[in-house]
Symmetry: C2
């Protein structure tokens, strides 16, 4: 009984079928567990997400997940990594609606906040889930770095277009990241209400805050 960390995970020689009558071998339990975890996350928040609950939701015994994930943290990391990829998509999607550097940066930031507020439990998991840090899982760090890279690149272009010292770009990126991350977290955790600021949606509030941002 080989344990997941020692198994080759890349080629995986997929069984080419996932026939339904097969009660024993599931087909792709790994993905099913990730999806089950996502569903639990959206319905009951972080506390509702557990290994046994995910196994139940996937219609499988409680110990089955251990053939696909080393432990609970590994499942959470897989879900979080998927979250970071979705966050990246959310930012890129909005960024590409604009052409000039500054609006592109602003749109990227709005995408960040929009994703976070639309998926609060997932966002919470991504940053500081239980037993989870960005360097724990080998796939999690890169996924997070890719997301940040979108923000970093956008600020870099703005700094260049503004004729600023490129050496400042790193700090500007960090500031921008801090601003959008903090705003997202505050809306989620501290229950900052967009309505209190005369805006209907979190995106609109993000637009207001980011509009005040000066390099």
């Amino acid at each position: 009984m080989k344990r997941p960390e020692e198994r080759s995970r890349a080629p995986k020689k997929v069984p080419a079928r996932a026939r339904q009558g097969d009660a024993y071998h599931h087909g792709d339990l790994r993905q099913a567990l990730i999806e089950a975890a996502r569903a639990l996350l959206e319905q009951g928040g972080l506390e509702a997400l557990g290994l046994r609950a995910a196994a139940r939701q996937a219609g499988v015994s409680q110990a089955a997940p251990y053939h696909h994930f080393a432990d609970k943290a590994a499942l959470l990391a897989a879900v979080a990594a998927e979250g970071f990829r979705e966050l990246t998509r959310a930012m890129v999607l909005r960024r590409d609606l604009e052409t000039r550097p500054l609006p592109r940066l602003t749109a990227t930031g709005i995408g960040y906040v929009a994703f976070a507020t639309a998926n609060p439990a997932l966002f919470r998991l991504m940053f500081g889930g239980p037993g989870l840090n960005l360097s724990s899982d080998p796939a999690l760090g890169p996924a997070a770095a890719a997301a940040y890279e979108v923000l970093r690149e956008a600020t870099l272009k703005v700094v260049a277009a503004a004729g600023r010292d490129p050496a400042d770009a790193m700090l500007v990126s960090l500031s921008a990241w801090s601003l959008v991350h903090g705003l997202a977290k505050l809306i989620i955790e501290a229950e900052v209400d967009p309505l209190s600021y005369g805006t209907a949606t979190p995106e609109a509030l993000a637009r207001l805050v980011l509009g005040r941002m000066i390099l």
Copy 2:
């Protein structure tokens, strides 16, 4: 057996002594539990903090805490509330070293980041501990609001001194809060290393980022 939520908590008619030989009645178990929780938090992080563990640390049986806290979330809320009061002190302390409005605001923000990075587990608990939201406990929301008030007041003064529209103050406050909160969270969770920015301490990095802040 009255339950804590129905008990009068204010006057409390303190037993006037906490003699040591008394193995049964503890003296002030409530405070002892809070302190035990704080110790667990600092040593083992959020996951190490549990009702049973706190009871063990306080040298008391597993069910004893239920005479002082309705459930686990109530204990966490008490610890978090204390955290918010300490955060407030940390900000006020640094703010009062300055006299001009803008440096006072900057110092307040640096205090925020310094406190968060010095007490990462506590800060995590304060914003989004398990089963904890700022409106769950009747004492938690006010403690958090008091902390924010320090930041809000500092930005208000700066906005006034700069001759800006006071109506903007709310948004400026939110932006400042977002910036320091995001920076603190990123240092804690995303492992942003101050050394990568040529600074030795989180405070120094905060000073750099906040130095870029323009109203």
